[in-house]
């Protein structure tokens, strides 16, 4: 049975978010299943003009590293058809400045911090998790194992399920009373191996997917657009990729899956819930349309209630839903 439970009758969480389809991930409760994706909502207050932090079940922060990072050379962005390539390189203020300046601000505004972290070594994860554990306001931690834009700790390392398991265990050991989620890269042959690694390491949830690796070439200059060549693709273009990964993971592990990648409206969120997601994250779309959060919420609410259901988790398709896909279908032999 999934750890995830509908808690309609339960008392609302202590934080100020409006209670709508509350969810539980491990030891943490969230007022709603709509989170801001890492890298797309800053440290939580930058979008306050458009979205009050209390509107979101949680805010996954810009990924924090132990030391501040200046990030990659410019250019860092390239729009693609229905997508956005980025090569930011985890520019962030570093753990101590985050804890001192950014975390208290978000907590004061009533936001729920889901702190995204990345590190190059196991010791560094251990240290960061220990520091985060000292701050009771940190509701949850997302381990960013899938960033394509850095050398150490990037998605190449994460391609080993055993590494995922070790890193997860190091973080979870320090944070037994918080939710620890592991964000996985889609840039592997079988993402379910990574998800199982996270589960075995004690993760309370997996988050799928991180950006899809891609590149671009500057025609005029005759060279790759990005200094690191590889960049991460996000936006509506990657939604079908994310949906398949969420579907696969939801059938491979018993911990909740938080779906992210290409939500552009209620439709994608609903499909993620049907595929088995416990919660969804909105990312790139917020850059141009922050009002979309409200549209997604309304659309999901309407869809769920029109069907006489009480929670989007009830939308999850049963084990038989994909069965016909497993039967040999008609072959596509040429005439």
């Amino acid at each position: 049975m999934s750890e995830l439970q509908s808690r309609r009758a339960a008392a609302p969480p202590s934080q100020g978010a409006p209670t709508e389809f509350p969810i539980r991930i491990g030891p943490a409760r969230f007022a709603n299943p709509y989170f801001a994706a890492s890298g797309c909502f800053g440290y939580g207050l930058e979008y306050a003009t458009y979205i009050a932090p209390t509107e979101l079940g949680a805010i996954v922060t810009k990924t924090i590293t132990l030391e501040p990072r200046a990030g990659n050379p410019m250019p860092r962005l390239q729009e693609t058809p229905a997508g956005l390539l980025n090569s930011i390189g985890l520019q962030n203020v570093g753990l101590e400045v985050y804890l001192r300046d950014k975390l208290p601000e978000l907590l004061a505004a009533g936001g729920v911090p889901f702190v995204s972290i990345a590190a190059a070594e196991l010791d560094e994860y251990d240290h960061m998790a220990a520091r985060l554990a000292e701050h009771p306001g940190v509701a949850a931690v997302e381990v960013n194992l899938g960033c394509p834009n850095v050398d150490a700790g990037g998605d190449r390392d994460a391609a080993e399920a055993r590494a995922v398991e070790r890193i997860t265990r190091a973080v979870k050991d320090r944070l037994p009373d918080r939710a620890v989620a592991v964000k996985l890269t889609p840039n592997v042959t079988d993402i379910t191996n990574l998800a199982r690694g996270a589960e075995q390491g004690g993760a309370d949830a997996v988050v799928a997917i991180n950006t899809v690796s891609g590149m671009d070439i500057d025609l005029q200059r005759g060279r790759p657009t990005f200094a690191r060549v590889r960049a991460g693709l996000s936006g509506p273009a990657i939604f079908p990729i994310a949906l398949l990964r969420v579907w696969e993971i939801a059938r491979a592990v018993d911990i909740p899956v938080v779906a992210v990648g290409g939500i552009a409206g209620p439709t994608e969120a609903l499909k993620f819930f049907m595929a088995g997601a416990a919660a969804v994250q909105l990312g790139t779309v917020l850059y141009s349309r922050p009002e979309l959060l409200a549209e997604v919420r309304q659309g999901v609410r309407d869809f769920v209630h029109e069907r006489g259901l009480s929670h989007p988790h009830e939308l999850r398709l049963g084990p038989d839903a994909g069965a016909r896909l497993d039967r040999p279908g008609p072959t596509c032999a040429p005439d």
Partner: protein
């Protein structure tokens, strides 16, 4: 930033060319599919716009009075009655027109000139500056219109012509290519009171979240969308960096 009416994902950062009651005008250079589409909109089209973001050029009243925060690297006298040089490369002239309109709206006439440069006469559309009260000095790289040379050359010529006393109370506002503004800074910063530059970059969020539009600065790698787009030139051009610019 303007939302694109079709399939383009991101808004496009555009400086305001002019505004009136219920309307704003923009100059959009058609360089790719998205900007071509925006440039093809008919006047009067409604476009979803996020509010002016970041920090623009200093306000007209402060500019006219020379009432600016002293530069971290003062090189001139306090510009009590400043001479303003508004240097626009190509479509970079748009926000300078906006500044000029604001200066024109002040009670007292301001001493300003707009230097408007392009590669050739076709690139210098003087009608976008119609009605401004200050002097308009065009320049073309090929000499087909106005001064023969770049607008940076013209700015240097202007500063030289008026001598060091005027230079010391000259404030330069510039918008154009990164190379043009860097050249302007290198040539003039030491001789004039202030140089302000409006930087350009591909932007995604516009609110300092995505870190996609950063520039090296005296305050580290800062987002152009929130810390700029207008910077003091010495704050962004005198910084050692390996960062490349398009």
């Amino acid at each position: 930033m303007l939302a694109h009416p079709s399939l383009h994902l991101l808004r496009r950062p555009m400086s305001i060319h002019d505004e009136g009651d219920g309307w704003r005008s923009f100059m959009v250079k058609p360089v790719g599919p998205a900007s071509r589409e925006l440039a093809g909109l008919r006047p009067g089209t409604q476009v979803d716009v996020t509010p002016p973001l970041g920090n623009g050029f200093p306000g007209a009243a402060d500019l006219a009075a020379g009432r600016l925060q002293p530069s971290a690297r003062p090189t001139g006298e306090r510009a009590a009655a400043p001479r303003l040089l508004l240097v626009g490369g190509g479509f970079g002239v748009a926000p300078l027109h906006f500044v000029a309109r604001r200066l024109d709206a002040l009670a007292a006439a301001s001493d300003y000139a707009i230097l408007y440069g392009g590669r050739t006469a076709r690139d210098v559309e003087l009608e976008v500056l119609d009605g401004v009260r200050g002097a308009v000095l065009p320049s073309t790289d090929d000499g087909t219109l106005g001064f023969h040379g770049t607008c940076v050359d013209l700015a240097i010529e202007q500063v030289r012509r008026h001598g060091p006393a005027v230079a010391a109370r000259t404030i330069v506002l510039a918008c154009g290519s990164h190379a043009m503004m860097a050249a302007l800074h290198a040539a003039l910063r030491a001789h004039v009171a202030h140089v302000f530059v409006s930087l350009e970059a591909v932007m995604a969020c516009g609110v300092g979240v995505c870190m996609g539009c950063v520039t090296p600065s005296v305050r580290g790698m800062v987002p152009i969308c929130t810390e700029g787009p207008v910077f003091r030139s010495e704050d962004v051009f005198d910084v050692a960096t390996e960062v490349q610019h398009v």
